[in-house]
């Protein structure tokens, strides 16, 4: 599941200008990791010079920002979209180690991803507010994002 979320973030950064705008102020080479205590599943993405996310395969690479779930069950709640990211923070499911302002941007990116790739009735459960996005735009973005994610999974990227 973590691998899919990581790849979905990569895909969203490639197909969605809104996500790219969020990543623009982040320094190239910045690594963001999500992980589960004590040494559970994780993924890491790097903000590239092109302004998109790329998967980081080296698990030992230092991350500038890490979001750490306290238990696998909590991560499952979030990534199965039963609990929104903001609600998970408010429920002490996880904590941030690193620059909080970038963490806020990443939360917005995760929210955007959920709004785009999930059906509205699922996304509304996880988000504070469902964004203004036309159905045609949502479908076009979601199709592209699913396509890039599937391709990357097949290529093992």
């Amino acid at each position: 599941m973590m691998a899919v979320i990581g790849r979905s973030l990569v895909a969203m950064s490639r197909v969605d200008p809104t996500v790219r705008a969020e990543l623009a102020p982040i320094a190239p080479g910045f690594v963001f990791r999500m992980t589960v205590l004590p040494d559970g599943p994780s993924f890491a993405v790097e903000r590239t010079a092109e302004g998109v996310f790329a998967l980081v395969k080296d698990r030992t690479r230092r991350a500038e920002l890490t979001v750490i779930f306290k238990h696998l069950r909590h991560a499952f709640l979030v990534f199965s979209f039963q609990e929104g990211t903001a609600r998970a923070f408010a429920n002490d499911r996880m904590f941030v180690d690193g620059q909080v302002s970038v963490a806020v941007r990443i939360v917005r990116v995760l929210d955007r991803m959920e709004a785009v790739i999930l059906p509205k009735f699922v996304a509304r459960r996880a988000l504070k507010r469902y964004p203004r996005i036309a159905l045609a735009d949502k479908l076009a973005l979601a199709t592209k994002a699913y396509g890039v994610t599937a391709l990357n999974l097949l290529r093992g990227r």
């Binding site: 609600r87 429920n91 904590f95 690193g98 302002s101």
Partner: protein
Amino acid sequence: MSIPSPDKAFYEFYCPVKIVAGLAALEHLPFELQMLGASRPMVITDKGVVAAGLYQHIEAAFAGSGIAVAAIYDDVPPDSSLETVRDAAHLWRAQQCDAILAVGGGSVIDTSKAVNILVSEGGDDLAKFAGAHHLKRALKPLIVIPTTAGTGSEATMVAVITDRKTGAKLPFTSYFLMPHAAILDPRMTMTMPPHITAMTAMDAMTHAVESYSCMAGNPLSEAFASRAVRKISENLLKVLDNPNDAVGRLALAQGSTLAGVAFSNSMVGLVHSLGHALGSICHLPHGLCMNLFLPYALEYNKDVNGEKIGELLLPLCGPEVFAKTPAEARADAAIAHIRHLRDELHARAKLPRTLRETGKVTEDMLPRIAAAALDDGSLIFNPKDADLDDLMAVLRKAW
């Protein structure tokens, strides 16, 4: 979007700080140090505290106790730095101290927490401990004696120290940063001028209101927050009318600590996002920023958490007003009361109510403030989502 309720699905609550509060509470200092096995405390404070004669109360508390202050570091600036922390840690080691007494406001308390990291863990590289939960063991004894009634830092697990070389503010978060004790003695806040009294009290009020009404509130934090609102609401104007009211001063100090315990366990929201942004761009005091945004942020959030805001009418105005006000009108009544309180503070202590009244904010700064607020961590815990347009709308109302 589900609203935080008393039946919150999951929460954590932690406050190991012993609170010693009351008239002559300072006289318990020697006992508290003895209980912690310490006998050579170092006082960390600032020049303002010393100039106001507040240090004399500390000295007097040790008279005849067999314990004396082993060193005083009184050079803490309003915005503390890595260098300040290093200097104070050197003095602590040179004088072979075994405890820290933080005597001051937010900057002194943050500095003291950071000094405690260095003297407990060893070395001079504070930055390597920056971030969340990097400390793995208990630190040296730390007792906090606040000289303002607003930050609540005596009950929080956070310290923020500036790296002057990069300009970055380094956050340190750990349960081990929490002081062993906080001593609330009205003598230490008695000399605060009206303007500072009002500003710091509204800082504490905002901690309490946001703690109660934002997403991470829980039954325990709500209990602390509600009591904080009541203490401040009942005593702030009384103290401004009679600055020597020791009981009122003590109530405000307790309100600040109660609010500190509350928000340390529930975080805050939109008022703080906007306030942090305004403070960093326009260099306005934090408490003033809180006062500027509080009613406008509540109005913005009201359609999502109006019930929670309405519940605050009870500690704000008392049971009679609460009972007479229909449930659906309580949120508006609570906000109206806060607006009225701000008018009174403006009349008594010249505390600005709008951005324009500060004289330090221009309208062309609003987009920058909104952009900075959008990236503030507190926004995650605000019950209602806010984008750039929403933040600009709140700023325009506060203009």
